[in-house]
Each structure stands twice: as C-alpha cells, then as structure tokens.
Amino acid sequence: MRSWEWARPVRPARREVLAAVPELDEGRPPLLFVPGFGHGAWAFAEHWLGHTSGRGFPAYAVSLRGHGDSEPAPDATLRAYVHDVVQVAADLPRRAVLVGHGAGALVVAHALARYPARAAVLVAPVLGGWPTFGAALRRNPAGTLPAVFGGRLRLAPRQLFSRELPDADARRYAARLGGASRRAQWALLNPDEPEAAVGRPPVLVLGSPDDRVVPVSALNRAARRYESAPLLFPGLGHDMMLDARWREPVDAILDWLEKEPAAGPSRA
C-alpha cells in the first residue's frame, strides 16, 4: 500500500523525449535511455540513439525534470524522476527496456518496481551510498563537497571521459552538463533500497574499470544485487555514450538483448 503516492501524486512536468525509430518496425522492444544527474537526453542523442535504431530497435531518451530541455524543477525528488521515467515507458507502444546511466541507473532501479520492464541495463551505475561518496570525494573534492551543503555536484571532464576523447569534445560536452536537484543529490548519499522489481526482468550491468566515478567494487555490488557479474570495458570513461569508443558498450547491450530469451522481440 503506497498511501503517499495516492495521497500526494507527483506533479506533472513537461518532459523532453528524443526518439530515433527504425523505418521498418521489426517488433523489437523499444529502449528507453535514462541519463544520469546533470545529463540530458542529448547525451544519448549524440551517438547511441541513432546506432540503436540503426540496428532495428526503436530508441528513446528522456531528460529527467530539471535536465536538458525538460521543465526546470529545482525541488524535484528522486520519486519525481522515477515518475518521469515510468510515464515515458508506459507511453511507448510496447514493453520497454530501461537503460539507466550513472545516477539514472538508480532511477531505473526504482522504476523497475513501478513498471514491469522487459529488461533493464545499468550502465556505470551510481546507486549511491557512502562508498560512492567517498570515491567521488577522493577524486574531485572541490566538485563534490559543495553538493553536501546543497550546492551543485560538479564533475570534472577528466572524471567523465577517457584520454582518447579529444579535449575539445570533452570540454564541449562538459559545458552542457547541468545539475540535479538538491533533494535528489542528497538521496544519493543515503539512498532507499529500491523495492523488488516487478515482472522479473533480466538485468545487465556494465561499466569500466577505468571509470573515475564508479569504482569496480561498486559495479560488482550492483551486479550482485541482480545476480550477475558486470560486463567491463577497459579504457572507457564514465560517460561511455559520449566517449571515443562509444560503439562497444551499446553493441554489447544490443547483442545481449538479441540473445536474452526473455527480452527478445516477442515471447509468443
């Protein structure tokens, strides 16, 4: 019984959803990409959306409220972000695969309890908690500390991208970063355990050992929660979808979807 969700429904907000749909509908499940805090749907529109639809999967990316071109929402809670994702997912013509990146993976983990996704993929998941905070503090104290006091969490470009990405691109992307709401940032520090996923979706976790935001130990922990092991892509930075070798992880996701029986085009 979720009394509060009945009594105080999340206030609607205008959402930006970018889409790339293949010309020929082959009955494949749609993918919904959920960017992490600070990022908008643009981060996926750069490479992954087009590539996914090129391989025959309808691809969508949403900007959480307060991000990208969605409505500004300085007081948004994590619950409001989850609401945004579930709303977009339920609006798609077929059961969707949810792909969460960074803190977007935490949003997806919560959304799985509210929507029976066909499958879920957690890319470099930031599921929060003190160890994540410790790692962030060590790598980028100046960007992290203010967030504790309600300031914006700032990530340095070199935290997000590998050295293979040209400096100009890295700076261009970093300039587009925004910030999540204070309350959602705090939720990262002391996250509620996500409720059990409904509909038993298969979950894939992937990340990089050279990620400067999510340590490998956190990846292992996240994967263990879903009874699997993380798929690793050495040499990539945290923002895999923007990095120089963005093609490898997205191909791995789509290969997995093609062979995962429960996530395949049609179970009939």
Partner: protein, 470 residues
C-alpha cells in the same frame, strides 16, 4: 505460446480426444489458465498470469477489450457524460500509470483508450478469444476445470476445454437490479433502468423522476436538471454529498492523506463532517433529509453539482416511492407527482450464470458469494473471482493485486504445495471477511471495501504466501 485454434475450428472434430465429459470431447489445455472476461479485471489477470509464466486463454463475449468501459458493448452501463469518480492515482493500475496530461477525473472514453493501450503494451490480445462466451464452468478431477464456450449469441457448436485454473472476471455492473413496486405495471409513463440511459437527449423536455442516490443516480439527476423540464430525485435516506474537490485538491487524495497518517476512523469522520458542513453546508435547508448515518457507512457519493442544482431549484428532492398509479407516482409522504419518465438508478447485481452458485459458497442462490478477500473460493484453490469489489477508490488497482496474489498462489501450488495448502486453510477460515467499517445493510454494500483496509489485507496475504517456506 499462442493459443491453439482448437475451439475456433468449425466443423466436427476428427476424433474425440482422450478425456470426455457426458460423452462430449474435452480438449486438454494442460497448465493453461482460463480467464473469463477481457474488461479491466480480466486484462490485468491475463497480464499478471502471463508475467508469472502461465499460458492464458481469455474468453470475451464482446469484440473488444474494456468490458463495462467500452460504450460499444451492449452490456456497458456508461453514459455519454460518465467521468471517473475517483481521481487518477486511485484508478490506474499500479504498474501502468495514466498519462500526466489527463485530467484528475478522466472521461470514460479516455479510460477505454487506457485499457486498449494496456492490452497493446503488454501484448495481451493474442491471448483473448473475442466473440466467445462461456456457457458452463464445471469442476473436473485433480482440481481442474472444464470450461464450455460457444460464439456469442448462441449459434455454433459448444466446445469444452480443460484448464488448470479459472479466473472469473465477468464484472458486476451489467445485470440491472430493479426493485419491485406495487402498481408499476399500470404506470403509463416511460420506465428505464440507468443501464439503458446513454444520452441527456433522452431526458430533454420531459418531466423526469430519478430513483436512487448512487453516483449514477446523482449524475443523471444533474443532467435532468440541465435538460428536463422538471426533475424529481427520490432517495431512500439522506446522504453525504461529497464534492469532488476539497481544499483545492481531489477529495479522495485529501482523504488518503489522513489515511496515510493513520488517523483513526472517528477522527476522520469528524473532520469529514466538519469539512462538509463548511463547504456543502446544511442539506436540510434545501429540503434534503439529514443523513441517518455517519460518513463512510455508505458508499461515498462524489458529486459537486447535485447540491448546486438543488439550490437552484432545478432538482426537487423527494422521499422514497411508495407505489405507482397509472399516471402518477405516490411517495412515502403521501404526495403524488406526475413524471413522464422514471429512471431507476438502483444499481446492479453480480451474475455468474455459468457457475453453480454453490461453488462460490452462495447456498441460498441469492447472488452473494462467500469468499475470502472477495476473491478466493473456499474448497476450490484453483478458482478465483477478480474485480468483485466495491471500493471507495478505483477498482483496478485492487483487481491488479488480486490477480498477482492468485498468480503467486498458482506458482506456489507447483513449487511448494505446503504453502498453497496453508493458504487454502486461510481461505476457508476467512471466508466472508469484511474490509470496511460498519456499513448500512443493503445489496449495495455487499462488496463494499475500504481500499486501504483491503489493500493492506491483500498485502498481508501476499507476504504470508511468500514467507511460508523460504
């Protein structure tokens, strides 16, 4: 796993299949579950059973999904202006929210499109046999069920299939309940039940008497106030007419804020009475009888406009009908009125004509099953009724959790029978349990549940079932 086309093939079967019943062939559908009805409750049953790995054959007598909410169906009770009386969060399936762009109280056509999207999103139509009605459901050996179907309308041969389990989701708002009045046969005016009311044009320019103060009765009275030349509204007792909005928010959401804070019933009743006194005001001033009960003791009426039109003199509140004469209607206070059209908004009764009433524990065949959680049948662990509740919220979230619980139970029967057995004992022990505070005794309230009490009871049952053998 698409359903086999056996029961759709015309012409004689080549050879009788192994099991038979009274000499008729029975096709064995293995572990498949049968769902009767593709309305809101049937759809969520199909979806949740599929999600738990079961094959499903769903039979729907109409040609589309949505059941009562599909206005094209001849048994649909909706009228042109039907809007929800519970707001969106109270009405949507918990794992498939209604779009943010919809109003707080959506229109019935939006609800139909919601169910159609639900069916398409989860790819349910491939499991539904449209235009097929269920004639009989009979127990077979091994706690399985023989379901006999035929094309809607009765032509074509009957087919019998054997299923591992049956979910009854045929709805309870389609078979009109008509009270008996002395002299009704003599009455020369027009008489209709609210189920055949569709459009305000039916009322235009007439002198109309509306009987019944359910939500439908109040809606029709309001439309009669706008369209008819005169409107009487006859009620058995005084009611609390709750506005749809209080304190600037949908009233049910305000109420649930109190429930979430676990405010005790007495305090909630007092706050409710206070709120109504401050907003709606004293109803006796308009000639309406004072309520003879506390709020929450009858099914809530959510109608902001009724009192407004009474205040504008467009609705004349009158007491119960005593008897009919050829041109007039006599009221219990001795007054006589002369309506041209009488609309009985006197509700509906559930009907399960394909099931022996004794199976549902309805010994007297009065139409009131004896179940646990309004869904589970004592002595028949593979039979469940979904959606037979009358909550003070939307039905659909309740149906969803009933279906989830039944699907988990069927899985437990396969995986750990001892947990399923414990559950069966619980069903027998708890049959007939109520999930609301004291309510007025009336067939109106047979299935009345408080949504919070009921959902908590369901949640407990789910936990107990899961915790059993782990």
């Amino acid at each position: 796993m698409s359903p086999s086309p056996e029961h759709d093939r015309s012409g004689p079967q080549p050879a009788p299949l192994a099991p038979t019943r009274d000499g008729r062939p029975v096709s064995d559908r293995g572990d498949t579950v049968c769902v009767i009805g593709a309305g809101a409750s049937g759809l969520t049953a199909v979806k949740n059973l599929r999600e738990h790995g079961f094959g499903v054959d769903c039979y729907e007598r109409e040609t589309g999904v949505g059941g009562a909410w599909n206005w094209r169906h001849d048994r649909s009770p909706v009228y042109a202006s039907t809007h929800l009386i519970s707001s969106r969060p109270f009405t949507q399936f918990p794992d498939f929210p209604m779009p943010d762009s919809w109003p707080d109280y959506p229109h019935h056509s939006q609800l139909l499109s919601y169910f159609e999207r639900y069916a398409d999103h989860f790819d349910l139509r491939q499991h539904i046999w449209f235009g097929t009605e269920v004639v009989r459901v009979e127990p077979a050996e091994g706690q399985r069920w023989d379901v006999t179907t035929r094309s809607t309308g009765g032509y074509g041969p009957e087919r019998t299939s054997r299923y591992a389990a049956v979910v009854v989701a045929n709805g309870h708002n389609w078979s009109p309940k008509l009270p008996r009045y002395e002299g009704l046969e003599e009455f020369r005016g027009e008489v209709m039940h609210a189920s055949s009311y569709q459009d305000p044009a039916q009322l235009r320019g007439k002198r109309v008497l509306v009987v019944g103060a359910g939500n439908t009765g109040c809606d029709i009275a309001v439309e009669a106030a706008q369209q008819a030349s005169h409107c009487w509204h006859s009620t058995r007792r005084g009611y609390w007419y709750a506005p749809k909005y209080v304190l600037g928010r949908p009233a049910d959401q305000v109420n649930d804020t109190l429930l979430a804070l676990r405010v005790p019933l007495r305090v909630r009743q007092w706050l409710y009475h206070l709120t109504l006194r401050l907003t709606v005001g004293d109803l006796t001033r308009f000639g309406l009888p004072a309520p003879d009960h506390r709020v929450y003791e009858t099914h809530p009426i959510a109608n902001s406009q009724l009192v407004y039109y009474v205040g504008h003199g467009e609705i004349a509140p009158v007491p119960d009908v005593a008897r009919f004469h050829d041109r007039t209607v006599e009221l219990t206070d001795g007054r006589r009125i002369d309506p041209e059209l009488v609309v009985f908004a006197t509700g509906y009764l559930p009907r399960f004509e394909f099931l022996d009433p004794k199976l549902l524990g309805d010994e007297g065949a009065e139409g009131r099953p004896r179940l646990w959680l309004n869904a589970f049948v004592p002595g028949h662990p593979t039979l469940a009724v979904v959606g037979l509740v009358q909550p003070d919220s939307g039905i659909f979230p309740l149906s969803h959790w009933q279906a989830v619980l039944f699907a988990r139970l069927l899985r437990a029967r396969l995986a750990c029978p001892e947990r399923a057995a414990a559950f069966a004992q619980r069903v027998t022990a708890g049959a007939g349990e109520r999930y609301s505070g004291a309510v007025k005794d009336s067939s109106r309230h047979w299935f009345e549940v408080g949504h919070a009490d009921y959902l908590r009871a369901l949640e407990r049952a789910l936990r107990e079932l899961e915790a059993g053998g782990r």
